[in-house]
């Protein structure tokens, strides 16, 4: 359980140990020692924090997958993705309260149906939004130099943030608090609450659905082929434009699901949260190996755990003020030590 926060020191597989490798290994070793000391000192806190990390990791995973899907097919970092997620969270908050009329503390079957309904609406909304963004902002630049769509993506991100700002104002808005916080289990002082379990219970089927879609369906095949060689895919009779639209639709839908879970789990939303969470999720995608779907999930769970340990552990944890710095430090470290990420492979094969 302890070492799941970090994978074994992979740089060992490379060449001779260089200065950077030794430095990296030392860092990982220190991290492991720190985790072990914390585990020994307060085992039940440690386990509980681990479960919290897993839960936030799920939400990060849904967003990280969107970055990775789009990067895989267009080699574009869709900076607007986090903001699509944010609008999804706002849409969920609005739909849950205004359309389904939920109120905080409400319970019963009605709540489940409403949550499910909101999930579908948020996914459809974000999927459509993301596909529209691609059509309007990225497609005209398909053959332009790489930098052009990248800058456009940053522009779209600002536009969406401002939409959020205009829609809900500059302050945190409260989201109806309907996920029950009663205990699922209490084993030796380690408690696990329903609201966390629900996040996992919604994330896992969505992930399974995604794997099935990408691996088994005709559209999924078209997606994989287009990601590997766009021209060759066109020559096979694949409608490349439609495949790209579809990819953005799926990525957006995942962000919508994440938006709903975030809104209900954290119970507040603000216009700039997409930017923050987007950066975390992007780091997760890079950590796992950008373009690699299982990698995005693994990276997201790692980041979720690191964040939870940092903010929750008591023995020499830097604390929440440092979370963003740590996430960025990780991003830089991956780019230095293992730019292809944990699960990415070095692919000299070009295409």
């Amino acid at each position: 359980m302890v070492t799941e926060a970090r994978r074994p020191p992979l740089p060992l597989l490379r060449n001779r140990p260089s200065f950077t490798t030794v430095g990296g290994l030392t860092l990982v070793a220190l991290l492991i020692v720190w985790l072990i000391v914390n585990l020994v000192k307060t085992p039940s806190d440690f386990a509980e924090i681990f479960l919290i990390g897993l839960t936030t990791g799920c939400i990060y995973a849904l967003v990280a997958l969107g970055y990775t899907l789009v990067y895989g097919i267009l080699q574009l970092i869709n900076f607007a993705h986090g903001d699509v997620f944010m609008l999804g969270a706002m849409m969920s908050a609005t739909v849950a309260a205004s359309v389904f009329g939920l109120t905080s503390g409400q319970s019963g079957v009605v709540v489940w149906l409403a949550v499910f309904g909101t999930l579908i609406i948020a996914m459809a909304f974000c999927g459509t939004l993301n596909a529209t963004i691609e059509f309007v902002a990225y497609r005209p630049l398909r053959n332009a130099p790489r930098l052009a769509p990248l800058i456009t993506a940053i522009g779209v991100s600002f536009i969406l943030q401002n939409v959020g700002l205009a829609w809900k104002g500059p302050n945190y808005i409260e989201v109806v608090d309907v996920l029950p916080k009663s205990q699922v289990f209490d084993i030796g002082g380690v408690t696990y609450t329903w609201n966390k379990l629900i996040v996992v219970l919604i994330t896992v089927p969505v992930l399974i659905l995604l794997v099935w879609l990408v691996e088994r369906t005709r559209q999924g095949k078209a997606m994989r082929a287009t990601a590997q060689d766009m021209d060759a895919s066109a020559m096979m009779g694949i409608n490349v434009n439609r495949t790209i639209s579809f990819t953005f639709l799926i990525a957006g839908a995942l962000a919508g699901a994440a938006g709903l879970l975030y809104a209900l789990y954290v119970t507040n939303v603000r216009y700039d949260q997409g930017f923050q969470l987007g950066l975390i999720a992007f780091t997760a995608a890079v950590l796992g190996g950008v373009g690699n779907l299982p990698g995005a999930v693994l990276g997201a769970i790692c980041i979720g755990l690191i964040q939870a340990f940092n903010e929750g552990l008591t023995w020499h944890a830097p604390g929440s003020d440092w979370t963003q710095s740590i996430v960025f430090a990780i991003l830089i470290l991956i780019l230095v030590f293992r730019p292809e990420g944990l699960l990415g492979e070095r692919t000299p094969e070009g295409g």
């Binding site: 095949k221 994989r224 590997q228 060689d229 060759a232 066109a234 020559m235 096979m236 009779g237 692919t347």
Partner: protein, 242 residues
């Protein structure tokens, strides 16, 4: 056989550009049903660009392209495939992280007739037994010759009316080259029309019925393959004979 005379593909005065570079400066080419037609010419003459103009990846700015009587000048690549044109592109362009089997399946992406697809898969494995041995291997890890077989097989999986091959013999050992050309003739006998781009002009003219010689974006010569084979200039420039 829509046009009585069996004219299948007709390029008329095609001009194709890369940005402001005019790669094709008015090319006219005919391919009749059942033929093997070859395009030969030096590097950069515009052979691959001609194929990209036909398959919809690079639409001509001027001129027209007709296939079986239908105008496909500005058709999208996937609709061109649907009409019955498949291609094995220059440099193979396999999907490197997919297996041989999956690559072949991708060739049949437009088709829904499972039984026919399975038959064609068997036929490809018959043509290239080596591919059957390697069917679960990732295409990116195949040898050059195996990749070429896979690329041709993949194009055949579309069960095309017109098969376009861009330098199928490139980088292959003589024994493999021989095998590839035998396959081309075999596939043609089974009823597929072929447009063949080749550096290996000698072998291309041996299997083709007609040929076009391209020079810097124009058609320099067009004739029966036999006649081109005898042509003084062709022999000097492209066949390395004197």
């Amino acid at each position: 056989m829509t046009e009585g005379n069996g004219l299948m593909l007709e390029l008329k005065d095609v001009h194709t550009f890369y940005g402001s570079i005019e790669a094709l400066k008015g090319i006219s080419i005919d391919v009749r049903e059942g033929e093997i037609v070859t395009l030969i010419g030096a590097n950069g003459a515009g052979k691959s660009t001609t194929l990209r103009s036909i398959n919809g990846l690079n639409h001509p700015r001027r001129g027209s392209i007709r296939f079986e009587g239908r105008d496909i000048t500005n058709a999208s690549p996937h609709s061109v495939v649907k009409m019955g044109i498949a291609q094995s592109p220059e440099g193979r362009r396999l999907f490197p992280r997919m297996s041989v089997h999956e690559n072949l399946e991708m060739g049949a992406f437009q088709r829904a007739d499972r039984k026919g697809i399975r038959e064609d898969m068997d036929r490809v494995f018959e043509l290239f037994p080596r591919l059957q041995e390697r069917r679960t291997q990732k295409a990116g890890t195949l040898s050059g010759g195996e990749q070429q077989m896979c690329a041709i097989g993949r194009a055949l999986m579309a069960r095309p009316k017109l098969l376009m091959l861009d330098e199928p013999s490139m980088g292959l050992a003589p024994i493999f080259v021989e095998r590839i050309f035998e396959t081309i003739v075999e596939v043609n006998k089974q009823g597929t029309t072929i447009l063949l781009v080749e550096q290996n002009a000698l072998m291309a003219l041996d299997v083709a019925s007609r040929g076009y010689v391209l020079e810097t974006g124009t058609v320099a010569l067009a004739d029966e393959a036999k006649a081109l084979r005898q042509n003084e200039q062709v022999r000097k420039t492209y066949l390395g004979e004197d």
